[in-house]
């Protein structure tokens, strides 16, 4: 995506014209990754034509449960977010960091040779753009730059889609990340019964649109798009009160509620794997049979993995309580110290894809309630002290 300033404008694409966008993208050498039906879910995968999109399908989500359901219309993007996130393409689950070869003059090390094709990511939601920008801070904006992530990010064309509906697990409005895509895209679409309102934000996005026959946006289209987007806002019922959340969590590190969550938490790593911002990884040695060529592979890992905190023959976080506490406090509190932003975008994946349906917004609410209760009690006690 281009970072240069570009005055954005809007246009309208009919469904017929939109169907041609795939040929245009391919002609510009983009591989297209987008939503498609697979494994009883809407996942992100390679898209060749408009027919690969989940036309007429939607998703019903609640804690620990996800089901596909047929829509009454032929919407192409009439779902929310699924089990996959774009992180699997920008920060792949397994990748080679460096290689080592034994030579006459000792070990020689080099960067893993990789090709980074141009990729158009189609159907990126506002919360997902926010997630990419959070991972940018981790991999690009600290004192060190991750080369692989940087190369993949540079090759990305972001075609966003505004949500026109929400799942029961969505809470982007609490995290200020959506549902409307505000920035961070090349093109942003709002799906309407006759086609798409398209916001064109960058020269790369414009080049794609210029290859199609777009129309001017009428006031009626503008109004219909606004209504559709507002529909998503109104459907969001879940809330996470983020007021002073860092201190709420960090001043309750010994709260008994962590034990209560630990009774339910499986420490199975699902929440961290589906989270679009979680970035933890481990490095494995992969050696050929002779041991003369060794690759260092980075794999997604999780703070819920028992061995993640292994040190000097012991484990720092040797209980589910400690691991859940680490995840939640990192995500919602210490992430702010580290990267100047929350680690949560409110996409709700960790709620839907937890096999036992643990809902972080409820856990935080319980901590908050308990804190308020004890404040109240201490005030009452103070009132009863002899003056």
């Amino acid at each position: 995506m281009s970072t240069q300033r570009h005055s954005s404008y809007s246009c309208f694409l009919s469904y017929d014209q939109f169907a041609k966008i795939f040929d245009v993208l391919h002609a510009f050498d983009y591989e297209v990754i987008g939503p498609t039906l697979e494994q009883e879910a809407i996942v992100y995968g390679s898209i060749r034509t408009v027919d690969d999109l989940p036309r007429g399908w939607t998703d019903i989500q609640e804690p620990g449960r996800y089901r596909l359901q047929q829509r009454e219309d032929d919407a192409l993007f009439g779902y929310v977010v699924g089990p996959h996130s774009w992180k699997q393409f920008l920060f792949p689950p397994v990748s080679t960091l460096s290689t080592a070869d034994r030579t006459d003059v000792g070990w020689q090390f080099s960067e893993a040779k990789q090709e980074f094709p141009k990729v158009a990511y189609l159907g990126v939601r506002a919360c997902e753009i926010a997630a990419m920008q959070i991972q940018d801070r981790v991999f690009l904006e600290g004192p060190y730059v991750d080369h692989e992530y940087q190369s993949r990010r540079r090759q990305a064309l972001i075609i966003a889609v505004n949500c026109t509906q929400a799942a029961s697990t969505c809470f982007c409005t609490s995290m200020n990340t959506g549902p409307r895509c505000q920035q961070g895209f090349d093109l942003a679409l709002t799906e309407l019964p006759e086609g798409f309102l398209v916001e064109v934000a960058t020269p790369e996005g414009e080049a794609v649109i210029n290859s199609l026959e777009s129309e001017d946006v009428t006031p009626e289209i503008e109004t219909a798009a606004e209504t559709a987007r507002q529909n998503a806002v109104e459907q969001i019922k879940k809330e996470l009160d983020t007021t002073d959340i860092r201190n709420l969590l960090m001043s309750n590190l010994e709260h008994p509620h962590w034990d209560e969550v630990a009774e339910r938490c499986l420490s199975c790593t699902n929440c961290t794997m589906v989270c679009p911002t979680c970035f933890c990884s481990s490095v494995e040695e992969v050696s050929d049979l002779s041991g003369d060529h060794v690759e260092r592979q980075r794999q997604w890992d999780s703070c819920f993995n028992v061995s993640f905190s292994y040190m000097n023959g012991g484990l720092v976080r040797n209980s589910i309580r400690n691991r859940y506490r680490q995840w939640l406090t990192h995500k919602l509190a210490t992430w702010n110290d580290q990267f100047g932003t929350s680690g949560c975008v409110g996409c709700g994946r960790c709620i839907t894809w937890c096999p036992v349906g643990i809902d972080l917004t409820e856990e935080v609410a319980i901590l908050r309630q308990s804190q308020e209760q004890s404040l109240l009690e201490s005030e009452q006690e103070a009132d009863h002290l002899p003056g």
Binding site: A100, V138, S281, S282, G291, V316
Partner: protein, 287 residues
């Protein structure tokens, strides 16, 4: 503490090691040896400098990487000293290497000891066991410009007399103005010195200015906690105390998540922290 200081990276890519060749191996105590490493690329050698308290990632292909503090003189660093205890898979493999063998090296990483805080003050260095190597570069550095500091102490605790590191250098260090006080957990025949835990040495220390002294500690976490507590009982504040912490490290650049301790990445925000900044997290069990 300058968090965003751009550190030297050998290769443009922080993940790619440079080749280092073992030039000398010195046995120290049972299970501990010092390796002198030379970087194979002379350009890299010229560019390489480190601050006392920083570490390198040493890499044995097939076995993996280990974070090891430099233990040599930071002001003459053509050969990089690493004193290594053979405890885990990687360090045991390093222990099986010979002079002339090569390995991978990435670094230097992390913050160092707070040199800028030390001038004109009494300095108390506290080491427990294998915690002395990360302090040795500091000792060399301080003694090389001895006149800039007040009294300098090394309080050193080891499990037993024969588990003490670098004893052959103690005489020279004393002559240059380092006051060394030692204790062991378990005495053996011939040991005339103290027996007991390290904080006792601090409790017995008389001549220092608690209001201005700087305390720098490296050792097991429990020892660091008790030493800091003793120091605070002596009137020092937690802003005068610095500790070197340890966690699982894999990337050393704040991207893999393993070494988190509360908001800190021990690899890049540490390993040396001022005690008031890290103790709220260090004191929470299992954080």
């Amino acid at each position: 503490m300058n968090r965003n200081r751009r550190l030297i990276i050998f290769q443009d890519n922080a993940w790619v090691p440079s080749t280092a060749v073992i030039r000398k191996i010195t046995p120290e105590i049972e299970g501990v040896k010092t390796f002198l490493l030379e970087l194979a690329d002379s350009q890299v050698t010229r560019a390489y400098t480190f601050r006392p308290g920083q570490f390198n990632m040493l890499y044995v292909p097939g076995a993996g990487e280990a974070a090891i503090s430099m233990s040599g003189d930071p002001d003459s660093s053509r050969l990089l000293a690493h004193t290594i205890r053979f405890a885990g898979n990687v360090t045991r493999r390093i222990g099986s290497l010979q002079v002339g063998d090569s390995l991978g090296l990435r670094g230097p990483f992390g913050t160092g000891w707070p040199l800028e805080e030390c001038a004109g003050r009494d300095l108390i260095l506290v080491a427990g066991g294998i915690g002395l190597p990360p302090l040795r570069p500091l000792i060399y550095h301080l003694l090389a410009e001895r006149e800039q500091y007040g009294r300098i102490y090394l309080l050193y605790g080891a499990r037993s007399p024969e588990m003490r590191l670098y004893t052959s250098e103690f005489q020279a260090w004393s002559e240059k103005g380092l006051v060394i006080k030692e204790t062991v957990d378990r005495k053996t025949l011939g040991w005339q010195g103290n027996v007991g835990v390290v904080p006792l040495l601090l409790d017995q220390l008389e001549a220092f200015d608690p209001e201005r002294a700087i305390l720098m500690i490296c050792g097991p976490e429990v020892m660091m906690r008790f030493t800091a507590r003793s120091a605070m009982q002596r009137g020092m504040t937690s802003e005068q105390i610095w500790v070197s912490t340890e966690r699982n490290m894999q990337c050393a650049v704040g991207m893999c998540g393993h070494c988190q301790l509360g908001p800190e990445f021990v690899c890049k925000d540490g390993p040396v922290f001022r005690y008031d900044q890290i103790s709220p997290y260090l004191l929470v069990e299992g954080l």
